[in-house]
Subunit: 107 residues, 2 copies
DNA sequence: CTAACTACCTTGCATTGTCAAGTACTAAAT
DNA sequence: ATTTAGTACTTGACAATGCAAGGTAGTTAG
């Protein structure tokens, strides 16, 4: 897969995921990987950034299957960021798809 | 617009454009800008890279409206790269759109 | 007890795009 | 004749994002 396409979209995918339900980092790696290949070294720094920007809050919970889990919960600010990004993505991908379709036509 | 979305897609848009007809750099800046905001400092280095990778060939032509224009012409290799990128983009954007749609549903 | 899995985090690197500036040619306005 | 605006290309310092590879540590199964 073309790794460049991912740029910026990962933030959207993570926001969409955490918006559905609180999630911890490792879980997100698995969830996000269903859509696009992604690696821990990408997700953890991203989660930190999104938390710093107040899109997420965090809390710890013990697990019976390993070390404690740090859960991420979306904030109100995070939800507005999500909407913003979702709209931007839609506009962007539509416009790219349109451009490709147009040029396929006249051949 | 989210500038990160652009990463990797610009190459696709440029390939699509030059595949339609030979174009010079400045013309491409204008053409590509119809789809995504872009500036000269992005396009020219990209054209150089794509030429180095043998996706494009170039030739010069004089202009009555300014300095000579360097035209870019797609190669056979460039066409296969175009197909590759187009398919990858389709798969990628479909999968992202699907993921967003799925999560919109259960609300 | 040790391997395997869960869970988290960090550092250095590569790639790609941005900004800002500079060069140079042509044509129209002053 | 000189300035201005538009066309056209180039470069270098910079920022953002993702990846690879490594580290720490708790839990469970063999």
């Amino acid at each position: 897969m073309n790794s460049q396409f991912k740029k910026g979209v990962l933030e959207l995918i993570v926001l969409v995921s955490v918006n559905k339900k609180d999630m911890y980092g490792y879980e997100l790696v698995l969830e996000v990987s269903k859509v696009v290949d992604v690696n821990e070294g990408t997700i953890y720094p991203l989660l930190k950034r999104l938390t710093n920007e107040n899109y997420f809050e965090t809390y710890l919970m013990e697990s019976t299957e390993g070390p404690s889990r740090k859960y991420y919960k979306i904030t109100v600010l995070g939800q507005s960021r999500l909407k913003e990004l979702k709209d931007a993505w839609k506009e962007f991908s539509d416009s790219v798809n349109n451009f490709i379709k147009e040029s396929d036509k006249d051949e």
